[in-house]
């Protein structure tokens, strides 16, 4: 390996959070402590969905014109990015923003459901002349919808609205994209390729077109939004959630030079890609990722376990080897935020470290147990519903 003398410590200095539970750190902490869950079991029935709370978008996206150019996932993300920058004391600091790096984990593709339905009914009724699709789309699609569909346009909107322009990269690929966004941003800062980065993701779960994609694979939870650890047998899968999670991470030196205080240290992010061809694949990969972190077996864990049958069964098997570790699964409270799965875990880990305790257990099956100890280390886990295994280590910064 090459020059490691430049290895630098990385701090989390800003957290922006907006979800079905609220916005900002205090609202989220209070909701978690109260075991509050905001789930809508009727609008998308039989699929439970955790809807975004009403946000005052003007507060972070002052121009209505900018808001109109975005669809929900981009508005949620741009809003959360603003909260993160504000929390880190960087809002409007053009000197730093103009050299700040950005990695966004994104999906995309919000559709115009009415236009789709028109096309499909044309076809079903045999009215579809050659080029009928063209005519419907040419006449029906809003020109700016494309910009709301492009994955990299969440980052693009953050550049425009908040002025983050050092660099802009968008990773795709469901849950793994969120892990890799942090893995690469961290590696770049540790090695000196970057000083400060805005990293995160946003997800709008209130989308029938997205539900359809996951229903194709029988991954969408139906009926009651049961606690994630109680999803067994017939009732497996995930409830989609809505939310935006962005973190500001920077080198310790950079933070100290500008007088910024850390929530916690981001020490490691590791990831792999199990083939998942036989039972045990994912458990083995999670075991090996844990080994890379080099932490005690009973280190507290915050996981985004989704409730998807195979993936969460494998993760349960992994957790059995950590029976003394306090575990928290955030999907029960937030739903599954897909690309934002691991980012959300990181945000909650940093918050827990700053608060000096884990948030309340919210589980009747015994996987999550109350624990009042102040955590100095938390392992964050993100296991993709189909592919991708990620793990991160968040640590207390000694005073």
């Amino acid at each position: 390996m090459n020059d490691k003398t430049t290895a630098r410590e990385v701090w989390i200095t800003g957290i922006g959070l907006a979800s079905s539970l609220g916005e900002g750190l205090d609202e989220h902490w209070d909701a978690l402590q109260a075991r509050r869950i905001n789930v809508d079991e009727t609008t998308f029935a039989p699929y439970p969905v955790h809807p975004i709370v009403k946000l005052n978008y003007d507060a972070q996206i002052p121009k209505k014109g900018d808001q109109r150019q975005m669809e929900s996932w981009q508005r949620i993300g741009t809003y959360a990015a603003g909260l993160a920058l504000e929390g880190a004391g960087l809002k409007g600091n053009t000197d730093i923003l103009s050299r700040m790096d950005m990695i966004v984990a994104a999906g995309g593709g919000e559709r115009d459901l009415a236009v789709d339905a028109t096309v499909l009914n044309d076809q079903a009724q045999g009215n579809a002349a050659p080029g009928a699709l063209n005519e419907r789309l040419m006449g029906g699609l809003r020109p700016t919808l494309f910009l709301a569909q492009l994955s990299n346009l969440l980052a693009g909107n953050i550049s425009i609205v908040h002025g983050v322009t050092g660099s802009s990269r968008t990773f795709m690929g469901e849950e793994a994209a969120g892990t890799d966004a942090f893995r690469i941003a961290l590696a770049r800062i540790v090695s000196g390729q970057s000083d400060i980065a805005l990293v995160g993701a946003a997800h709008n779960g209130e989308r029938k077109d997205l539900l359809m994609l996951y229903e194709f694979g029988d991954f969408a939870l139906k009926g009651k939004a049961t606690p994630v650890w109680a999803r067994n047998g017939e009732a497996t899968g995930f409830a989609l959630g809505s939310g935006g999670v962005f973190l500001v991470i920077e080198s310790k030196e950079h933070a100290q030079a500008r007088g910024a205080k850390p929530f916690a240290r981001l020490s490691q992010v590791v990831a792999d890609h199990a083939r998942r061809t036989v039972p045990g694949n994912v458990t083995a990969v999670l075991d090996s990722l844990w080994a890379k972190l080099g932490v005690p077996t009973d280190t507290p864990i915050i996981t985004g376990a989704t409730g998807a049958a195979y993936a969460t069964d494998e993760e349960r098997a992994f957790l059995k080897k950590h029976a003394n570790a306090p575990v928290r699964g955030h999907a029960t409270s937030f739903g599954h935020l897909m690309e934002a799965q691991l980012p959300l875990g990181l945000a909650l880990a940093a918050l827990s470290i700053a608060k000096g305790k884990l948030f309340a257990a919210n589980d009747s099956t015994g996987v999550e147990i109350e624990n009042a100890a102040s955590p100095s280390q938390i392992v964050v886990i993100g296991t993709g519903h189909w592919r991708g295994e990620g793990m991160a280590l968040v640590e207390r910064v000694p005073a």
Partner: protein, 426 residues
């Protein structure tokens, strides 16, 4: 200082394998021969009805049959072909066991129309079809393949299986700069010492009705349908938009040290990468040109060279009125008086705009330009634009020695990336 480290003490990153597919054909040999002959791959679209469309031509890759057509499946096959050529040339690792990570630039994957049509049929209704009725017909496993196919990570997942790259594969989009970003991520991983080798692939098979219409509604496309091969006119006064196109490019990057240790042939050097985001507008670049200028300068700085060292520019050169004007202004600002003497030719005049793949396809062509000492032309250049007083290598290829070249890619969302390539380590 040895060739193993660059002047900043970082591992030197070299190219040991390249692969390319465009509308001109599959493979470097075929592409290079046609590119230097000034041949166009743009043709009238036959893949789907074009009734009612303003633009009816594109640089489609029609020699890979996909039936029924699915863009993501074509992207997959294009990536496969390009990566196979690159890995074979590099003769690295063993079959299905590439010793490094994958960085994949890919068009954002979406559930395509075929899935909606089939699900709509499965509802059994002839009217009142909507997402609620389709959702009822979606589960149960009969459409499980659509889930796998239309995940954002699906193309990368397939490439991992096929080539055995290591770790978590990264799928990325920086719009029309994606291919360059994939290469940049590979360069950075090798410089950090995380990997000795990286497979950087960029692919795009997006010519379907909806994608064409989306660009058309933004008035980004050329409507010069007849003759189609005359549609892409970068830098010419009568340019009227870009031409959508398909293709893939792949590069095997290695540290100089690892490549020489295994006796690999070095095809070129990835000497520097620069990027800078533009916060001006979603689809237009800042009128002051600062982001483009800064991006090119960042790449030169990262390579540790000055503007005087550049012998050839492979521009983004899409053929839209706006891009070519802004890019030329940027080039003139960075290179000053010398800008007029540096040849700058747009591959897109022949292959169209391969979108997510463009940065990697054009990096391969830039490295071939350096290797062969021959500059591919900008074709369809009949009407010079007085605002662009540059040497665009009009219409005919010519010989030139190139030591350093720069290739730029710019995309919607304020994405700008430039790559500096060299013949050999400094």
């Amino acid at each position: 200082m040895t060739a193993a480290k660059d002047q900043f003490g970082r591992p030197t990153v070299v190219v040991t394998g390249m692969g390319v597919v465009t509308s001109l054909g599959a493979g470097k040999t075929d592409n290079w021969q046609k590119l230097t002959a000034g041949q166009s791959g743009i043709r009238t679209i036959t893949r789907f009805p074009t009734d009612g469309l303003r633009t009816t031509m594109a640089g489609t890759v029609d020699f890979i049959p996909i039936e029924p057509f699915v863009s993501t499946t074509l992207s997959d096959k294009l990536a496969d072909l390009a990566a196979e050529e690159a890995v074979t040339q590099a003769a690295i690792g063993s079959k299905g066991d590439f010793p490094g990570p994958l960085f994949l630039a890919v068009a954002p994957v979406e559930v395509e129309w075929i899935a909606r049509f089939e699900t709509a049929r499965a509802t059994g209704s002839a009217s009142g079809i909507d997402y609620d009725s389709m959702l009822k017909a979606s589960g149960g496993g009969r459409f499980a393949d659509f889930h796998k196919r239309f995940l954002f990570g699906s193309v990368a997942d397939h490439l991992v299986e096929r080539f055995g790259t290591k770790g978590s594969p990264i799928s990325l989009s920086t719009a029309c700069a994606s291919g360059a970003t994939a290469i940049q991520l590979g360069v950075e991983a090798i410089r950090r010492g995380e990997a000795d080798a990286a497979l950087c692939v960029a692919t795009d098979g997006s010519v379907n009705p909806e994608a064409l219409i989306r660009f058309s509604l933004l008035s980004a496309l050329s409507t010069h349908n007849e003759p189609p091969e005359g549609a892409a006119r970068p830098f010419a006064k009568n340019r009227d938009g870009f031409v959508m196109a398909e293709g893939a490019g792949a590069l095997v990057l290695e540290s100089y040290e690892a490549a020489t240790a295994r006796g690999a042939k070095i095809l070129g050097v990835l000497a520097g990468c620069g990027e800078l985001a533009d916060s001006f507008h979603r689809t237009r670049s800042s009128p002051d040109g600062k982001p483009i200028i800064g991006c090119i300068r960042n790449a030169l700085d990262d390579a540790g060279i000055t503007p005087d060292d550049i012998d050839y520019i492979n521009p983004h050169g899409t053929g839209t009125p706006e891009n070519d004007k802004m890019e030329s202004k940027g080039v003139m600002a960075v290179f000053g008086e010398r800008a007029r003497q540096i040849p700058m030719s747009s591959n897109k005049s022949m292959i169209g705009h391969t979108l997510s793949a463009a940065g990697a396809v054009e990096a391969v062509f830039t490295l071939l330009t350096i290797e062969h000492g021959r500059l591919p032309p900008t074709i369809n250049y009949a009407m010079p634009d007085p605002e662009i007083p540059l040497d665009v290598v009009p219409n005919t290829a010519r010989d030139a020695q190139v030591r350093y070249a720069i290739s730029s890619s710019f995309g919607f969302g304020g994405q700008n990336v430039s790559l500096v390539m060299a013949r050999e380590p400094a």
